[in-house]
Structure formats: structure tokens, C-alpha cells
């Protein structure tokens, strides 16, 4: 009975590790193979969410089952990566836009003000001053 449980725990840990590794592989192949910079921006998100997440959950389960210690560091790292991934993606996209995309290639922003990257910031009105 105990042997069966141990096998089940091993299978669970191995499953998360393999899923994490597979998504990392998908992300890195996408980083090599995709044609355009903005397409390539899409590929490594797989590696940074499910890839690292799988490895971290696998390690959490491993230490829970085989070392008898429950730790939440892994969840902290996953949470931190999930919080920061959109910010870095936004910054990298802005860098690319400034490098390659001109103002005339873009449609109107659809607001009172223009694009933050190309146009001047709006003037303060008298009331706001």
C-alpha cells in the first residue's frame, strides 16, 4: 500500500516536471523558428508561465512527499513571474514599436489624445492647474 502511494507521488512529480519541460521546449522552439519580433514575443510566454510553473509545482510536491517539508517559496516565485511577465512584454513591445513602427503606420488612437509613444503628452488646462 505504501509502495503504491510512493509510486503515485513519483508519477505526479514526474508529470509536472515533464509538462514543464515540454512547454519550455515549445517556447524555445518558437523563439528560434517564428518569423517576426512580435510573433517571437508570444512564444516565450509559454516557457515563463506553464514551463517554470510546472517545474516549481513539481519541486513543491517533491519536497512535500519525499522530504516531508511544505514550502511556499515556489508559489511566491510563480506569483512573481505571473505579475512581472505582462510588464516586461509591454516594455519589449514598446521598444520594438519605437525601433520599427512609424506613427503613420498606426491608426488613430480613438481617444482625445494620441499614442503615448509618439505624441506629446496632453497640455494641462487652466482648471487642472
Amino acid at each position: 500500500m505504501d509502495q503504491d502511494l510512493s509510486l503515485l507521488a513519483e508519477l505526479l512529480v514526474a508529470f509536472f516536471l515533464v509538462v514543464g519541460g515540454f512547454f519550455a521546449l515549445v517556447g524555445s522552439i518558437g523563439l528560434i523558428r517564428l518569423k517576426d519580433t512580435l510573433q517571437r514575443l508570444h512564444a516565450p510566454t509559454k516557457a515563463s508561465t506553464v514551463g517554470v510553473g510546472g517545474a516549481l509545482i513539481g519541486s513543491m510536491l517533491y519536497f512535500l512527499f519525499f522530504e516531508d517539508q511544505l514550502s511556499f517559496h515556489e508559489l511566491l516565485i510563480t506569483l512573481f513571474l505571473f505579475l512581472t511577465a505582462p510588464i516586461t512584454a509591454n516594455f519589449i513591445a514598446k521598444t520594438y514599436m519605437q525601433d520599427k513602427i512609424r506613427r503613420k503606420d498606426l491608426p488613430e488612437s480613438g481617444r482625445d489624445y494620441g499614442w503615448a509613444l509618439y505624441d506629446h503628452p496632453p497640455e494641462m488646462t487652466e482648471e487642472e492647474k
Partner: protein
């Protein structure tokens, strides 16, 4: 035993990811590609450290990976701001 094989597989995958980010960083062609490659390199490296912690059976490496995650985020943002504005803190 199964965990050992899964660990080897995951090590190979993340190691290949590290190589692919290095290739993308060398080839480019735009600055955004290089910054993206460095960011992904940090992420793959975090996963490799965590896997090494499992293979050694010690929880010592989580602090290291947490610190590297923070430093990686800050350095990515600093690089992007430097390319965007020519200055990091205006």
C-alpha cells in the same frame, strides 16, 4: 526512479531553451529581440536552479531563484527604458 528520468528530460528541455535564447540574443535582429532573449534566459535559468535543487534534495536554492527572478525583472525593465528613453531614471 521515474522522477530521475523526468528530471533528466526537464534538464534537457530547459538547457535547450537556454541555448535557443543565446542564439536569439546573438542573431537579433532587433534590440527588442535581444532584450526578450535575455528575459527568457533568466526564466530558463530560474527553472534550472529549481531542478538542480530537486536533484540535490535541498531547498537551499529557492532563495537564489527568487533573487534571480527579481534581478531579472528589474534588469529587463532597465534595459527597455534605456533603449526607449536613453536614460533609466529621469
Amino acid at each position: 526512479m521515474i522522477v530521475t528520468y523526468a528530471l533528466i528530460f526537464a534538464f534537457a528541455c530547459f538547457g535547450f531553451g537556454l541555448l535557443s535564447t543565446m542564439w536569439r540574443m546573438l542573431v537579433g535582429p532587433t534590440q527588442a529581440d535581444r532584450i526578450l532573449a535575455l528575459d527568457t534566459m533568466v526564466i530558463n535559468f530560474i527553472a534550472l536552479i529549481v531542478l538542480y535543487g530537486i536533484s540535490q534534495g535541498t531547498a537551499l536554492y529557492f532563495e537564489a531563484s527568487m533573487l534571480i527572478a527579481m534581478v531579472g525583472f528589474v534588469s529587463t525593465v532597465a534595459l527597455c527604458r534605456f533603449v526607449l528613453r536613453g536614460d533609466i531614471i529621469e
